[in-house]
Symmetry: C2
Subunit: 321 residues, 2 copies
């Protein structure tokens, strides 16, 4: 069996995290720093290079077996480049794969950050040892990734499913994508906030108090806190949101019939509040499909998922021998 370490990189819009990861998925060394994207890719890449050397030094290695990067936002996997002036200002057409390959002389894999996190969870996290792992991340949007037999499932043109945009209610609100009733327009954090802000206008509710009288400050966190404190309106909003969360999950569970659904993202930190309603919806739709056998579990690797998954992607590039 090969020994040595993999390097996993999780490049976010604010920070970059780098880990030395062994072939069993254990993080042996860790380093992170602000990416300061606006100072340009050269500065950023130098910093990433230094962090890589730092974690390798910690584990007493000069070279990794391979390097993997999970990067925020649009990437071009085919060309191995980052195309993300949106959350990494100035990072447009940055050939990270080639640059890291040249500097370290080892194979380099590039994934988007959501896929990297899903790979990490599927490898050694909440999806470990399962053939079909669906990851659903509910936060500002709803992101999904499907890991099938240890690989990110990709479809036509190499795209991966962005199932936040499946339709769960054609009479639902207009989504930024131009369609009506997308899952994420009904069940993401902003959808919860919008629902709450509109209802709190006309009703007495703890939510307004928690938001210190500022309606616009009512967000998903406030709704959850108010619901937990027994606020009836907030509980209604949780129930309605959970209904839509459940419907979207049902649709994806029917399509993929996964062994496990891993829940991540800010909104899912409050999963226990939503869970009874979500399970009710799943139960209602379990007559023709074994949905009740599908386990819903929380993501387990937290902030390390991206680094671990990037290392996993890197491990696939190592020539067996």
């Amino acid at each position: 069996m090969k020994t040595g370490v993999l390097v996993g990189i999780d490049l976010g819009g604010t920070n970059v995290r780098v880990g030395a990861v062994n072939l069993q998925g254990d993080v042996l060394a860790w380093a992170e720093a602000p990416i300061e994207a606006s100072r340009g890719p050269q500065v950023g890449l130098a910093r990433i290079g230094a962090l890589i050397e730092q974690v390798l030094g910690t584990v007493g290695m000069v070279m990794p077996l391979a390097i993997g990067m999970g990067a925020t936002g649009p990437i071009d996997r085919q060309r191995g480049s980052i195309q993300n002036p949106y959350t990494l200002p100035t990072w447009e057409d940055v050939p990270v794969v080639q640059l890291l390959q040249e500097r370290f002389g080892v194979p380099v894999a590039l994934e988007n950050d959501a896929d990297a996190a899903a790979l990490g969870e599927a490898w050694v996290g909440a999806g470990r040892d399962h053939e079909r792992v669906l990851m659903v991340t509910v936060g500002t949007g709803i992101g999904t990734a499907f890991v099938y037999r240890g690989e990110i499932y990709r479809g036509i043109e190499g795209a991966h499913p962005e199932a936040g945009h499946i339709v769960v209610d054609p009479r639902g609100p207009l989504c930024y994508c131009g369609a009506h009733g997308c899952w994420e327009s009904l069940a993401s954090g902003p959808a919860i906030a919008r629902r709450a802000q509109s209802l709190a206008r006309d009703t007495s509710t703890l939510m307004v108090e928690l938001a210190q009288g500022n309606l616009e400050a009512i967000d998903a966190r406030v709704v959850v806190a108010a619901a937990q404190a027994g606020d009836v309106l907030a509980q209604q909003i949780i129930e309605e949101t959970a209904f839509y969360l459940g419907l979207g999950m049902v649709n994806l569970m029917i399509a993929y019939l996964p062994d496990v659904v891993i829940l991540g993202g800010g909104v899912m930190r409050a999963y226990p509040v939503f869970a009874p309603y979500i399970h009710q919806v799943i139960q209602q739709h379990s007559v023709v499909a074994p949905l009740q056998s599908v386990r819903l579990v929380m993501a387990r690797l937290g902030g390390q998922a991206g680094v671990v998954g990037a290392a996993y992607a890197a491990s696939k590039l190592i020539v067996e021998g």
Copy 2:
């Protein structure tokens, strides 16, 4: 390369069809007969055995390389048995795989009929040479099968997706599965008929005429014919049905991102009538996913798909050598 022929069997509730199929998927010989299920599995299996010998005789062979069967209704793939007293009365717990193996001394594969048809289309029909083939059959219900890299996609507990029960409108009608707004409750043949019968009650429409005054005789065929003749109400029903057909397809297209969607089933014979509206829905949902690149095509093998696909399943059992 191996030579010789495969035998494919398509066991329906009324007839059984048997083909001798070469390794390129060409049907070299064909035979069919009524199955007369109620006379019992012994009679039926004897008939199937005779048909197998007949097609083998036609191509001048004594033994096939392997045998595959696509059977209507519930099967137990693990045990290789048919469990279908519903559409094959008396056929409960019939170990067809073992019985055919014993009689012919070759490996035997068993699939359900929808999966067999999808495999046939993916092998040498409308999905040929594509990695990801979604088949959607719209008739009395909506059946789906996803063929990925030449295999039926199966999920937890070996189940395959029954995506007729994804939810496309939570305020839709009650489905027999107990949920509201399942795709098939909104877009199958009976859904079209129900919509038409309810609207035709109060409005003057060609549909009533075509059904010779009998409201209950208005079915999907009548609606399509009336729409083609310019009946405004029938056209509205087509448009509404196509909207739901499109929504369900969008959801599955987002989840699987297939290269091609193959359309089959009685309702889809009228696909051109629905197509403009379906394409409109797909276009509205193509902003975040490359759905417009997915080709929608008609099934190509007609009544031979099941036999050819069963032969394909059989081909997977041949030991390479």
